[in-house]
Structures are given as structure tokens and as C-alpha cells.
């Protein structure tokens, strides 16, 4: 169903980085205050909040919300792995579109650096059958199969990584802001993690928080008459659909078709297609993913992603720039907040406030995330 009558009233984020001396709750508070200020309100005007995080702790979301105030508003926790932030946004958008709330907040925070330090039982340290395999490995499995099927070379993956590092250099809110132009050779020469993926083809582990405030379109036009109104028009969320050969055990990428069917649903709900998009943000935790999503999100046919990349179509200045803020690879990927950083970038671009990385005349944008190999969400935004 198309989302009607909701618009983004405010955005805010704490630049993703390592923050050993700041708690997750304080990072959330700071992102929340930025978004409230951007909307021109306080928490008193917020009717409902959705708090996202993937840290394995109970009720830390409601505790973080108290840093912004205690107004009695309903607070719901959201956890959908890497897709968490966009799913929190989806709930806020629908809370407004349904008429239940006039103003709703989506906020997320995480400290990946804490999770790495405090939970040695996670990931490769866990003494279980399905814990032997690093994220880099299961994304590398996908990359190897693509090289086999389509003749893709590590240089293609490196070119995507270099592009996103260089996009990050133009974004003051990017974790990685290289002081030189990152080259394909530099990416290929970095530490080999899981063949063919190198360290510079992967997102960093970092901390951060981000927030978006959604309000009714009427409210936004009334309160922000001088600003271009950015509206979410579709938000599709799907989990895995079974097909023969499904891999159940172990951390996996999940079926690639999940991104295709989720994107189709979003386009259909909005009455739009890939040709209508001016920019796209996708889950590029590893560079090979972005190449796959060119095709799965419908921007080119199967096996044509390399040509789209080689033509420069997915870089700033190209036909459909991908990950204009640096993507997960440069802007960062703390977990929960990642999706709300994407909302931050799409809204900044559609408002025409993206500075050196502005996509000229951008009117529509797409934000895509997958989570835990088990869910996918595709969100479409437009401005007048």
C-alpha cells in the first residue's frame, strides 16, 4: 500500500565513529536532539516513538528515550538486524499515515565496538557449529559464485569500494573521509580477508546514532513552509520465501531474490519504477553486494551490473548514483542506526542540501537494507 500523507519533519545523526567514552543512550540523545531541533519541536510534540538497536540487551531503548524526556509517549523497540533503522522508520511513517500519530519518531543507536569487546561469545568465538563463519566469508561465497557465473573480477568489487570511499570524502558525516583519492589498486592491495574480498571492500565496525521525525504532510507544510517537503511513499518489508536449495544453518546472505521481490513490491506500491529514481542507497557491507543490487533493484538486467559500474553510472555525476554518502563502507555501519543514516542522506539530497555531493535536481530516492540474511526492506522517497 502506498504511504499517503506522511512527510519527514526532521533528521539528525551523530557521525559514525568509535566513541569509547560515550554511552549508546547519550549518542541516541544527541541524534534525537538534532532531529527535534531540525523539526523545530521538543519531545512534547512527539506522539509515538520507535527505538531500534541490535545490541543484545533488554529495554535499553526505553532507557535511551528517557534521556530526551519523560512525556508518557508510547515507545516500541525494533530489532531486525542490519535493517533495524529502516524498519523503525517504516513503523513511524505508518503510525503517521494511519492517522494514529500526528508526529512520530524513529531513532536508533548501537555500539559495535562494545559488542566486539564485551561479547567474545559472539561471531567467530562461539563454540557452535554455525559460528565458524565470518560475515566476510558468506559475502565472499556470493562474490565467488558471481565471478564463476559472470566473469566478474576483483577489480569490479574494488572499483565499487573505491567509489564509496571517495563519496565518503565529500560527506562531513562519513566515518571514513580519505584525504586522497582512493584507487582500485589501493583497495586490492589491502589485507585479503576472505577471497576475493579485501579489508577495504568491507564496512568498518563503529558506534553511532541517528533519528528521523515523521509528521503528517499537513503538519510539515504548516510548520516548515520554506522547506522542500520529502515524503516516504512506499516501504516494503519481506522475510525469506522458501525455495529448493535453501540454506538454513549458519550466517548466510539469504536468498538474493528477496531484494528483487521486495523492490518490486515497493515500486508497485508507489506506482514508480527504477527509472524514476535519482539516487539509491543500498546495503554495501561488502562491495560485491552493491554490484548484485544494481540488478536486483532493477537498475539493469542480470549480468549487466559490471557495465553499469564501468560506465560510471553509479558514481556521483552518473545516471543513478549509489551510496552518495559513502555507504556502509565509508559512512559506516553501527547496526541499528544505519537505516536512519540512509534516511538522513536521502532527505538531505531531496532537500537539495547535500553540498559537494549533491545529486542535481534529485526528486526521488531509494533506501535498501537486508538484515541477518533473513529480511529485506526497500523504501522510496519523493519530493515535489
Amino acid at each position: 500500500m502506498r504511504i499517503e500523507g506522511a512527510a519527514v519533519a526532521g533528521i539528525g545523526m551523530v557521525r559514525f565513529d568509535r566513541y569509547p567514552d560515550r554511552s549508546g543512550a547519550h549518542l541516541a540523545r544527541d541524534a534525537g536532539l538534532l532531529a527535534l531541533r531540525d523539526a523545530g519541536i521538543t519531545l512534547a510534540e512527539v506522539d509515538e516513538a520507535f527505538v531500534g538497536y541490535i545490541q543484545p540487551a533488554a529495554m535499553i531503548g526505553i532507557k535511551a528515550m528517557k534521556e530526551l524526556g519523560l512525556t508518557g509517549l508510547p515507545v516500541t523497540h525494533i530489532e531486525n538486524a542490519s535493517a533495524t533503522g529502516l524498519v523503525a522508520f517504516r513503523e513511524a511513517a505508518w503510525a503517521v499515515a494511519s492517522g494514529r500519530a500526528e508526529v512520530a519518531m524513529a531513532i536508533a543507536f548501537d555500539k559495535m565496538t562494545d559488542m566486539a569487546r564485551n561479547a567474545p561469545s559472539r561471531g567467530t568465538g562461539r563454540d557452535q557449529l554455525d559460528s565458524t563463519i565470518l560475515p566476510a566469508a558468506y559475502f565472499a561465497l556470493w562474490a565467488q559464485r558471481r565471478m564463476h557465473d559472470h566473469g566478474t573480477r576483483p577489480e569490479h568489487f574494488a572499483a565499487i569500494a573505491a567509489k564509496n570511499w571517495n563519496h565518503g570524502a565529500l560527506n562531513p558525516l562519513s566515518h571514513r573521509r580519505p584525504d586522497h583519492t582512493v584507487t582500485v589498486e589501493e583497495v586490492l592491495a589491502s589485507q585479503l580477508v576472505a577471497e576475493p574480498l579485501t579489508a577495504m571492500m568491507a564496512c568498518p565496525a563503529d558506534d553511532g546514532a541517528a533519528c528521523a521525525i515523521v509528521a503528517s504532510t499537513d503538519w510539515v507544510r504548516r510548520h516548515q513552509p520554506d522547506r522542500r517537503v520529502v515524503r516516504p511513499v512506499a516501504s516494503a518489508l519481506q522475510s525469506e520465501a522458501y525455495s529448493p536449495g535453501h540454506t538454513f544453518l549458519g550466517p548466510v546472505v539469504g536468498p538474493a531474490t528477496m531484494t528483487r521481490t521486495t523492490a518490486l513490491q515497493a515500486y508497485e506500491e508507489a506506482g514508480l519504477g527504477p527509472d524514476d529514481m535519482d539516487l539509491a542507497l543500498c546495503h554495501d557491507a561488502f562491495a560485491n553486494e552493491e554490484l548484485e543490487y544494481y540488478e536486483l533493484l532493477g537498475f539493469c538486467g542480470e549480468g549487466e551490473g559490471e557495465r553499469l559500474l564501468d560506465a560510471g553510472d553509479t558514481a556521483l555525476g552518473g545516471r543513478i548514483p549509489f551510496n552518495t554518502d559513502g555507504g556502509l563502507i565509508a559512512r559506516g555501519h553501527p547496526g541499528g542506526p544505519t537505516g536512519l543514516a540512509m534516511v538522513h542522506e536521502v532527505v538531505t539530497q531531496l532537500r537539495g542540501e547535500a553540498g559537494d555531493r549533491q545529486v542535481h535536481g534529485a526528486r526521488r530516492g531509494l533506501a535498501h537494507l537486508v538484515g541477518g540474511g533473513s529480511v529485506c526492506t526497500v523504501n522510496l522517497f519523493e519530493t515535489d
Binding site: L129, T132, F248
Partner: protein
């Protein structure tokens, strides 16, 4: 000295170390679809009632990688780099697991066979084993040759 699985419920540990282990899977009583690991409700037709079966031990390599990071973060195995792959079983499921060998040993489409690797010895003196797939050398040497 006995051998024990690193985690129960995924593979057999034969008394005879020369015997290949098998995967503990399920077969739907209604539509016949196979699954690994075991499950009660069929993921294909939603029938409540899958039967326990043993799967493998052979399959074909769908994809592979070689990881240049210590296995289990060095916690309990002296393995500084290792292979990972996805293997298509003849019964249907695609299984992700460790691989035996170096990066030059793997080729997509090759036949693989399941075996067990000892990771360490536990406090009771048992060998703790994990499942993994290795290139099926017998099949490679004699194309279409004997299978276990």
C-alpha cells in the same frame, strides 16, 4: 578415546573413524522435500510432520571462499586460515560448512564428501569434532567412479 560432536543434532559421529559421517536432516511426510538441519514443519508445504533422515555424505560444491582469519578467533583451534563452502546435497539442501584444503584445491561444481575434524580434547578426554567437506579425491581420480 571417544569422539563427540561440537554441537549435538547436526551430524553422526560413527564409532569407526574410517566411516563417513552423515548429516542429520528431515524429509517431509507429505511432499517429500528434504531439509538440513532437522525441522518439524515442512518449509515447502507447511505440513506438520517431517521424519528424521540421514543425508549425504557427498554433494557438489556450489561456491567457496578461503578465509585469512583464525578459526574460532584462535580460541580452541590452531587454524590460521580456512576454507568455507556451500555444498548442494543430492537430496536438495544446500549446506554451508568448513572445507578441507587450500585455496587452490577448490573448484565450483566438484564433488565433495563430508568428514570430521578434531578441534581439541575436552575435560573428559574426548575428541571434540566438527563436520567439514573435502574434495572427493576418489571421484576426482576416476570420473563416475565408486562412491561410499
Amino acid at each position: 578415546m571417544a569422539r563427540v560432536a561440537i554441537e549435538e543434532g547436526y551430524f553422526t559421529v560413527p564409532d569407526d573413524p574410517a566411516e563417513a559421517p552423515r548429516l542429520l536432516g528431515s524429509r517431509c511426510g507429505a511432499c517429500g522435500e528434504h531439509f538440513f538441519p532437522r525441522r518439524q514443519v515442512c518449509a515447502r508445504c507447511l505440513h506438520d510432520g517431517c521424519d528424521d533422515v540421514e543425508l549425504g555424505p557427498t554433494g557438489r560444491l556450489w561456491t567457496w571462499t578461503y578465509v585469512h582469519v583464525p578459526l574460532f578467533a584462535k580460541k580452541n583451534a590452531k587454524v590460521s586460515a580456512y576454507g568455507v563452502g556451500q555444498v548442494d546435497l543430492p537430496e536438495g539442501p544446500r549446506v554451508q560448512a568448513l572445507l578441507v584444503g587450500g585455496p587452490d584445491d577448490f573448484e565450483i561444481g566438484m564433488e565433495m564428501v563430508l568428514d570430521l575434524e578434531t578441534l581439541r580434547t575436552d575435560d573428559d578426554g574426548n575428541d571434540v569434532v566438527i563436520m567439514r567437506f573435502s574434495p572427493h579425491r576418489a571421484a576426482g581420480a576416476h570420473e563416475g567412479g565408486e562412491r561410499p
